[in-house]
């Protein structure tokens, strides 16, 4: 259609969109490019090389990073699992629990971790742990992660559940299933793309967290983000860029996975 007659077309919006994408990707792409820089200096290009990737896995700091990565991954898996279970239960209670007085308060509470600024959460959690004498370490990180993972898991799960008609559960009950079996045989199989999306989202959020983790991790522990931050404070080195690129690609892979799971959950159900 001739641009002048297309009611939706506005001059320059395409340019701005491209600018937006350029701004979003340029820094990341630059880092990726420089991670292949053969030169030890981060300012001059010395040729293409994979040495910094090797350095990440085998160099002097590799033990530190491997331990940090292990910490990050294990905490993320555990936090995401617990958060997903709690969020699934909460979603069913909120959306299939009828009307009740505390409903909006419940929802406010579930969304609280997202609404409170991260630094405030970090500070108050630190104060809390210190007051009750909770030792700072892996467990403290895990607990804090579970808290802010819950609303992130909740979002896709509740979105999915809200799109499922109540008639399936009614049919199940009509056919003599009690509540637990209605959930197990009917509701959960239809809900699972949302649950999986919620898990992945919580996993990524936990993996990526810096501010809260940094505050309450105590002295002995590092997660990948805190290790990277500590290293960056001393100056950006090429192996950091390689590590960043790896993390970047890992995140993108996870998001793409989550996206395709989400699409699968949208496949049309029986209509006439």
């Amino acid at each position: 259609m001739d641009r002048r007659f297309d009611i939706k077309h506005y001059q320059g919006f395409l340019a701005i969109t491209c600018l937006c994408l350029f701004i979003l990707y340029a820094p990341l792409i630059i880092v990726m490019i420089y991670s292949f820089n053969d030169s030890a200096s981060i300012t001059n290009w010395g040729g293409f090389s994979l040495r910094w990737y090797a350095d990440v896995f085998t160099g002097p700091e590799s033990e530190k990073f491997k331990l940090a990565a292990w910490n990050s991954l294990s905490i993320a898996v555990m936090a995401a699992t617990v958060a997903t279970i709690v969020a699934t239960a909460a979603a069913i209670g909120m959306i299939r629990g009828g009307q009740f007085r505390g409903k909006s308060v419940s929802f406010a509470l579930i969304s609280l971790p997202i609404m409170v600024p991260e630094i405030v959460t970090a500070v108050s959690t630190l104060i809390f742990f210190s007051t009750i004498g909770f030792k700072l370490g892996t467990l403290s990180i895990l607990v804090a992660h579970i808290v802010f993972c819950i609303p992130f898991a909740y979002l896709p799960i509740s979105a999915r559940l809200q799109g499922i008609e109540a008639s399936y559960e009614e049919a199940a009950q009509d056919l003599y299933a009690d509540r637990w079996r209605t959930f197990r045989y009917v509701l959960m199989p239809i809900m699972w793309p949302g649950i999986l999306s919620g898990f992945l989202l919580a996993f990524i959020i936990s993996l990526d967290d810096f501010i809260i983790t940094n505050f309450i991790k105590g002295a002995g522990i590092e997660t990948l983000p805190t290790a990277i931050f500590g290293s960056v404070k001393q100056g950006i080195k090429p192996n950091i860029m390689a590590l960043s690129t790896l993390l970047l690609l890992f995140s993108i892979a996870l998001v793409t996975l989550s996206y395709f799971i989400g699409k699968r959950g949208q496949e049309p159900y029986p209509t006439d």
């Binding site: 009611i7 506005y10 919006f13 701005i16 969109t17 600018l19 937006c20 701004i23 979003l24 820094p27 990341l28 630059i30 880092v31 420089y34 300012t43 279970i85 709690v86 239960a89 069913i92 209670g93 299939r96 629990g97 009828g98 009740f100 509470l109 971790p113 409170v116 600024p117 991260e118 630094i119 500070v123 108050s124 104060i127 809390f128 210190s130 607990v143 808290v147 799109g163 499922i164 008609e165 109540a166 008639s167 009950q173 509540r179 209605t182 239809i190 990526d208 810096f210 501010i211 505050f215 950091i240 960043s244 993390l247 970047l248 995140s251 993108i252 998001v255 949208q266 049309p268 159900y269």
Partner: protein, 305 residues
Amino acid sequence: MAAGTGSGRTVSATFSPVRGWLLLPSWLVIGIFLLVPVLLMLVYSFLTKEFRGGVIWEFSLAAYDQFVFDRGLFGDDPPTIEWAYITIFVRSILQALGATVLCLLIGFPTAYFIATRPANTRAIWLFLVTIPYWVNLLIRTVSMKFLIRDNGPLNEALLAIGVIDAPLQLINTNFAVQLGLFYSYLPFMVLPIYASVERYNFALSEAASDLYAPKWTILRSILLPVVMPGIIAGCILVFVPSLGAFLAPDLLGGAKTFMIGSLIEEQFKGNAGNWPFGAAASMILLSMVLVVLLFYARAQSREQT
């Protein structure tokens, strides 16, 4: 898209007898590990500081007082206004506003453009815009730092083209922090606006055009008001995190660009910290955020009546 065959009801009371049990875990976890800590922090802001970090359980308004007044080294000079902290708060608000405006200027046309693509390409554009969000914020901020520092690629490119003679001092400036905030939260502006525009009925624009309105007038007087809820949501999603941001000011800024986030962080590191002061600063930040959210909620409910 609803999974079902058209009867439409998706909220029910099937599980209401057990909803107490279902909601209990989230209530417990968030109640104990977030709500109580925040309340505790409120209490801490009214306590006295301990010299090596931590607190003495003694009521004191010193923390809040410290923001506004300078009472000298031993606390008994006549009070003069302490501008340092007020400056930090004002700077944070301005930075957050600036980031919001920048995100709006770039984000709105982007969101509009994507929402008006045909259905199959739309998903790809959206995907492209959201991917960077999924990259660790730390890494994104670090890469921005890498890009704009004195002997970084941006300066090198500009020098090479000949646009400038000497490297631009971009790092450690308010501008760098602004850029960092903008970069961190841009997708948060794009997505809600996209959602609103996608739901917009373009027949309205066509009707306006039929009645002789020129395109930009249509944008201003017809589209914008309808899409406003998405725009406001986007602004809130950028403003609130920017206010309390830590990474952008810490990595991209310096002592002269201190924001609330850095101020708070400083109070809890090592022995020089002042816990009640940090708690007080956090409470002030939290209050600002709550005020903004309250306004938003009130505006939302007024919309619906």
